[in-house]
Amino acid sequence: MVKELICIVCPQGCHLTVEEEKEYQVSGHRCARGVAYGRSEAMNPTRVLTSTVCVRSARHPRCPVKTSQPIPKKDLFRAMALLDDIVLDLPVHRGDVVVKNILGHPADIIATRDIT
């Protein structure tokens, strides 16, 4: 099967073609990251999840967070559900680990801003 994809690694948005029969050969890319994206998107799509968690702070009730690396697309909603119960105390620093190894993946949930 031939998959037509738009590369989402950067805002250029290259139009990629991935040929499954030819060992996931990628064409249409403008850089090596496009090849990596095309292959992984066809085999096991992953995304960086970004969201917010609750903070005990009057001025900043929410702290933005993200996964430290992409997680499988199919796990995004399960990861979101885990964030519902989290409440952080001050101070929070950019890069603080909020959840270690989310859903057993190598990725952590980390804070993306300082709240002091």
């Binding site: 009730p61 909603f77 801003r113």
Partner: protein
């Protein structure tokens, strides 16, 4: 009155911070940044998604991380910051300009400054601006307002959502609302193409199975106290709704992502010349406006797709403003510009920045940023020239108005051009 500032920056978002930091690095010491919000960072603070910084920092950051990188550079810089303060007016002068501002703690006062950097950003068009018929029910918000409620204040704004307009903020919010448990029924776009980045269509709509209805628009919003139902209709080539194509969506929330307007009230009142195409001030090659010593950068100048380019543009403005202040002292600066060339958008081009260049002030290379007026799927050639000679050109397999492009030209090439007008066009 105290000594004038060397630079007063209006707006503490990415543009204002970039300009202030760059001015500091280029030799200015008395710099003030005025921000109306309680903290610096501007709209980046509510953009919790990632995709920022790939170009400028070489890594993928979220909005708050990008803002954190920028504010981190302020530490120890001596740049003064005034938050929770609103600039009310700009009064251009001969050598110093005056800026009048208001804050809860200090009241009304006026400050003098040698240069001003306009970095007020842009704001969203609202329902009033596009005039959708229907009731005045609750639940109709701009996508950016919803983004602030959800991401910063911690309020969910609805359960069943329709998004009007496929600009980037609308796409991002379609995903955000979905992840937070809402059902996004559709994203409706009046044009036959999306104004958002291709990557956002993929990762915000396609990933979650949200349909994108091109050449459609909302023609009626119904509901008494809260939105209950919207009517969506297909539009014809002249963007008029087609009878008999009505579809109904039972939703409690309408998010609007129908364009951004550079926020230029201060600019206009100060008498600075504007470009109706960009909605921002006309600028010279160094981001200086029609009034000497007043510069502009970021979304107040032209609406950008990428904050990375905002940072680059504002660094150029900050550097130019520093050169202006320091050059004045040596009196070597500001020789009469012998030749001013107007850069004009021609066939297929919607707008271009800068609109004017002073040949004798150019650096080695200059970049012109532009948007095409409609998308093309066939290869096109972008050309900058004086009608006979071509100063620069490049080919692209496809182009879209949603993605800002630029063309780079050498100073020496520009000096060979004839006449007072350079035309930027698209050819097959």
């Amino acid at each position: 009155m105290a000594d004038p500032y060397q630079m007063l920056v209006i707006g503490g978002g990415p543009a204002g911070l970039g300009a202030a930091i760059s001015a500091k690095e280029n030799g200015l010491s008395r710099i003030l940044v005025v921000e109306r919000d309680l903290e610096l960072g501007g709209i980046l603070n509510q953009c919790v998604h990632n995709g920022f910084g790939l170009h400028y920092f070489g890594e993928e950051l979220t909005g708050p991380e990008y803002a954190g990188r920028m504010t981190g550079r302020l530490e120890g810089s001596g740049i003064e910051i005034l938050c929770d303060t609103m600039v009310l007016s700009i009064h251009p002068g001969q050598d110093v300009h005056r800026v009048c501002l208001m804050s809860a703690c200090s009241g009304y006062r006026c400050l003098d400054t040698e240069t001003i950097v306009l970095a007020m950003g842009c704001r969203e068009r609202t329902r009033g601006a596009i005039g959708i018929p229907g009731t005045r029910a609750a639940g109709i918000l701009t996508a950016g307002t919803a983004q602030r409620y959800v991401n910063m204040e911690g309020y969910m704004v609805g359960k069943r959502v329709i998004v009007l307009g496929s600009g980037d903020i609308g796409l991002i919010m379609a995903r955000r609302m979905t992840l937070e448990g809402a059902k996004v029924l559709a994203c409706v776009e009046i044009m036959p193409f999306s104004g958002g980045l291709a990557r956002n269509i993929v990762q915000c709509l396609d990933d979650y199975g949200i349909p994108l209805l091109l050449s459609h628009t909302i023609t009626e919003i119904g509901g008494r106290s809260r939105v209950e139902r919207v009517t969506v209709q297909q539009v014809d080539a002249s963007l008029q709704p087609v009878e008999g194509t009505e579809r109904y969506f039972d939703v409690d929330t309408v998010l609007l992502s129908v364009g951004l307007i550079p926020e230029n009230e201060l600019t206009r009142e100060a008498g600075i010349a504007m470009d109706p195409r960009t909605g921002g001030p006309l600028v010279f090659e160094n981001k200086e406006t029609s009034i000497r010593g007043i510069f502009a950068c970021g979304n107040v100048l032209q609406v950008h797709d990428l904050v990375d380019y905002v940072t680059e543009e504002s660094e150029e403005a900050g550097k130019a403003a520093a050169a202006y202040v320091l050059g004045k002292a040596t009196a070597a600066f500001a020789p009469p510009a012998d030749r001013i060339i107007d850069v004009t958008p021609g066939k297929g081009i919607a707008c271009v920045i800068p609109q004017k260049i002073r040949l004798d002030r150019l650096e080695e290379k200059i970049r012109f940023f532009f948007r095409v007026s409609e998308p093309s799927k066939t290869p096109k050639r972008v050309m900058l020239g004086d009608g006979e000679r071509v100063a620069a050109s490049f080919r692209r397999p496809w182009m879209a108005p949603g993605e800002m492009e630029h063309i780079k030209v050498d100073r020496s090439t520009l000096q060979e051009m004839q006449g007072e007008i350079l035309l930027l066009t698209i050819e097959d």
